[in-house]
Symmetry: C2
Subunit: 115 residues, 2 copies
């Protein structure tokens, strides 16, 4: 059985077939955790299950974040951007988001100035 | 004259030719503002100038954010993700990030739960 997006939501997407970059942000701290990709089915599953599910470009399959590591993401909110080609998920991250064990995948700073 | 990335930084990128999704986050509030794309040159210019410069996929050209609207992004920090195919820019956003006048491009919530 394939879970489908509602027609209303489908209509909000800029492109029906392209993968959509999805930003995961820690809902409690605001820290940006990772960027992954979703297709329509993974977005529908994420909404249905409340757990972030992406499309793995390397394995070419649905990928429920944390299914093997236990480092799941409980979805607090999902927002679509103004032109319908990017997603922002605010999540409750269990354990580390990054496979390196770091809390965020963005742990390599290449430039830094004072605010 | 083309501005180039340092060899060290070039070596950190997963792919030398593909566009890299770049997340802009408000450095003061943590709010995620937008997602755009960079090529190597736009990243080099961003580092050099301290102002976020992207690659416009629709116009197929370099795009200094705010060059026409005045809604520029002063770069506070740049981080590369663990596998070198996504960027996180923490910025000081002047005015609205979104062309709609909203502070963030992610103003359309499609799902929401209590934290």
């Amino acid at each position: 059985m394939t879970i489908e997006l509602s027609p209303d939501l489908q209509a909000m997407l800029k492109d029906k077939t392209e993968l959509i970059p999805a930003i995961a942000q820690d809902a409690a701290t605001g820290e940006v955790l990772m960027l992954a990709y979703m297709n329509q089915e993974s977005l529908a599953i994420t909404i249905e299950s409340g757990r972030a599910t992406y499309w793995s470009r390397s394995r070419d399959e649905l990928w429920e974040k944390g299914a093997t590591s236990g480092h799941t993401q409980k979805v607090i909110s999902i927002a679509l951007d103004c032109d319908g080609d990017a997603l922002l998920l605010r999540v409750e991250q269990i354990g580390a988001a990054c496979h390196t064990g770091d809390h965020t995948c963005f742990h390599r700073e290449i430039e830094s100035h004072k605010l």
